[in-house]
């Protein structure tokens, strides 16, 4: 294995997971730590471009942290934000970023309570990096400890929107499709579920590495795996088009406003019904089920009835050469 950190270690794929396990010696089980009745999480954000269709790095930072708290069943309450800014960065852009952080925090009903600013020399960072930490109050502790054979897997909406809209912009692909990042905080989507009697077993937002990484992480080194029906996964036509052109499957593209939820089988229809009431999750669907026999594996059933294993991505997927 490589003896230096490579870009791939930060891609959110298997190498990231190994880095966390082997070097930081941290259990990478959950998106946020559960501390008695509190949840605590932290996340750093670097993204190119800083402004994209549907949001910017500020919106991303707040919603990412809010969503991580939701994953463990907490109601997000407070957020801190720390900025690393490159000398020469325009104040106007910074103001835009801060405004959208505040806007998103307001929507999520969380308070930004403290922060920090560092400026580094020109060329030492890509404009702005933001670190956010968050604290929430546990409503229903969700840590995956009670996942059972037959539980249903639900996704709250279409996949790949964020990843492909960013790629379209970053790579100057200029593919003429009407696609926006889905970046958003999901408090209004998830809190009603947490406050209901639905038996939620596990939850994770499929960010870097996409749905493929998310599902693999959920069952990584656990006693169960997933069987997923490809034709049930909601995917926008625009995403399909870019996916074809780039040769990258939507399963590997990042999302910033979706959640994968594992619930008790009997509760699945009700969960989807509740989700569909919110415009953010109107395309929610049951996409598969938990299988104990699959131990740590994610198997896709194609619409043609054939099977294939969906692996953790090795690194960020590359557009095909031809």
């Amino acid at each position: 294995m490589s003896d230096v950190i490579t870009i791939d270690h930060g891609s959110g794929g298997k190498l990231t997971l190994e880095l966390i396990e082997n070097i930081f010696k941290a259990e990478n089980g959950l998106d946020a730590a559960i501390l008695d009745d509190l949840a605590f999480t932290t996340d750093s954000h670097s993204i190119k471009p800083l402004f994209f269709d549907g949001g910017d790095i500020g919106k991303l930072a707040v919603s990412g942290t809010v969503n991580d708290l939701l994953c463990v069943g907490a109601k997000p309450l407070y957020i801190s934000s720390a900025f690393i800014i490159e000398a020469g960065f325009e104040i106007e852009k910074l103001q835009k970023i801060v405004n959208s952080m505040q806007e998103e925090a307001r929507k999520a009903n969380v308070k930004i309570v403290c922060g920090d600013t560092k400026v580094v020399e020109k060329g030492k960072c890509d404009g702005v990096y933001i670190n956010t930490s968050g604290i929430g109050k546990i409503i229903k502790k969700i840590d995956g400890s009670n996942v059972e054979d037959g539980d249903a897997v639900i996704i709250t909406g279409s996949i790949g929107d964020h990843g492909f809209s960013i790629m379209n912009k970053r790579e100057n692909l200029n593919i003429d499709v009407n696609l926006k990042s889905d970046v958003t905080q999901l408090s209004d989507v998830i809190l009603p579920l947490l406050n209901s009697d639905i038996d939620i077993k596990f939850m994770r937002d499929p960010t870097r590495g996409g749905l493929a990484m998310c599902l693999n992480e959920l069952c990584y080194k656990r006693h169960f795996g997933f069987e997923i029906y490809e034709d049930k996964i909601p995917i926008k036509e625009e995403v399909r088009v870019i996916s074809e052109i780039l040769g990258i499957e939507p399963y590997f593209a990042a999302n910033e406003g979706k959640m994968v939820i594992v619930v008790k089988k009997e509760d699945a229809p009700k969960t989807v019904e509740m989700l569909k009431k919110n415009p953010k999750s109107k395309d929610a669907a049951i996409i598969g089920e938990v299988k104990n026999s699959l131990q740590g594996k994610v198997v896709l059933i194609t619409p043609f009835g054939s099977k294939r294993i969906l692996k953790m991505p090795v690194s960020d997927k590359m557009p095909r050469i031809c």
């Binding site: 298997k14 034709d231 040769g247 043609f304 054939s306 294993i309 692996k311 590359m318 050469i321």
Partner: protein, 363 residues
């Protein structure tokens, strides 16, 4: 054209059934080769091998542009970066392909300035903002070669921008291999994108000279199954001709405009294919008129005396020739993974071993 038809499960199932029926008439087990990395990708993605009867084997040929790039060229480019202080730009997949000692990626830690780009346009942009020479390491088959040629003709290139072309022409590569008897197969699925450029005309000699049914296919499940069905039908009726199931993209003459552009910029000469050796008439070489962008004319290219195409144990050569499946290689998924590829076939999403690995096959 209704694209959805090609991924309609009912149609796919019907095709699979038709193949079963036709295959029952086959007198022996047959091998159908495709020569396109994207086809392998689709086959894995749709689990198509699952749907085929046991007497039809679909194997991958030399279809990945990264896999067939010789270590010699990778070594030379690394040397150039280290000795002449130039910046090398190339596609992401290329960075990880092992050369004799190092990959381009590995050469970075020895001080080489190597940057990933998504296209030649990126590389040109980069050179505009650079005060040193920038060399674009241009790999890929006719699809990508057409892009390189167009960029040279269309754009005003910065004076510090150069191209090192290892572009290769597929049809003559496969033709030479067939002629040498190095590959054997009973039918050929013709590549989707590459044939769109070169046209189907050039494949007729495959049918005539070697009696190989050849069918062009797109990348949806039904596209590929339909091609397989037609090949089996040809075999059963002892025919060998070129057929086209992808006429929404490919035609007989190909993309003549792209051909003309390439003719202006390149001549076809020798190329070294990794593991397969030198093949005439398959290397896109910049014509003299374009010497001003040709990196080989501007820098002191030091080609290694000895270069290692395949590490010990690696069976990439057989994999590229369709003689072995990735799972036949003792290193597959054990010592050789995409995290630490021993051979080139484990690097790119178009590489056969990488496709197998991603599909979780044989683990």
């Amino acid at each position: 054209m209704n694209l959805e038809l090609f991924s309609d499960p009912q149609i796919v199932k019907k095709l699979a059934k038709a193949i079963q029926t036709e295959a029952a008439k086959l007198k022996k087990e047959i091998k159908i080769m495709h020569i396109c990395g994207t086809h392998e990708n689709s086959i894995i993605r749709f689990g198509l091998r699952d749907l085929l009867p046991a007497n039809i084997r679909v194997i991958a040929g030399p279809g990945c542009p990264v896999c067939v790039t010789s270590s010699r060229d990778i070594d030379a480019v690394i040397n150039l970066a280290l000795k002449e202080n130039v910046c090398i730009t190339t596609f992401g997949d290329m960075l990880k392909v092992p050369g004799s000692k190092l990959s381009l990626h590995g050469a970075k830690s020895h001080g080489a300035d190597i940057k990933m780009v998504y296209s030649i346009y990126d590389a040109i942009e980069l050179s505009k903002n650079s005060n040193k020479p920038v060399v674009f390491f241009a790999c890929g088959f006719e699809t990508t070669a057409a892009g390189t040629a167009a960029a040279i003709l269309d754009l005003k290139l910065p004076s510090n921008f150069f191209i090192y072309s290892v572009h290769k022409y597929t049809p003559d590569g496969v033709y030479a291999l067939l002629k040498s008897g190095k590959i054997d197969m009973d039918g050929l699925i013709l590549p989707g994108h590459a044939s769109a450029i070169s046209g189907l005309r050039t494949y007729e000699r495959f049918a005539f000279e070697f009696h190989i049914p050849s069918v062009a296919a797109g990348f949806e499940a039904a596209d590929i199954l339909l091609a397989i069905l037609l090949i089996v039908k040809q075999i059963n009726s002892n025919q060998a001709k070129v057929e086209n199931t992808y006429n929404r993209v490919i035609n007989y003459e190909g993309n003549t405009k792209a051909q003309q552009i390439m003719d202006r910029v390149f001549s076809l000469g020798e190329a070294i294919w990794r593991g397969l050796g030198t093949i005439e008439h398959t290397g896109y070489i910049l014509k003299d008129e374009f010497a001003y962008v040709d990196a080989t004319k501007h820098f002191n290219f030091e080609y290694p005396n000895h270069y290692i195409e395949h590490k010990k144990g690696c069976r990439c050569r057989d994999v590229i020739l369709g003689k072995a499946q990735p799972t036949d290689c003792p290193l597959y998924a054990k010592h050789c993974t995409p995290y630490n590829p021993v051979g080139p076939c484990m690097v790119s999403d178009e590489g056969t071993c990488k496709n197998f690995y991603d599909g979780g096959i044989g683990e």
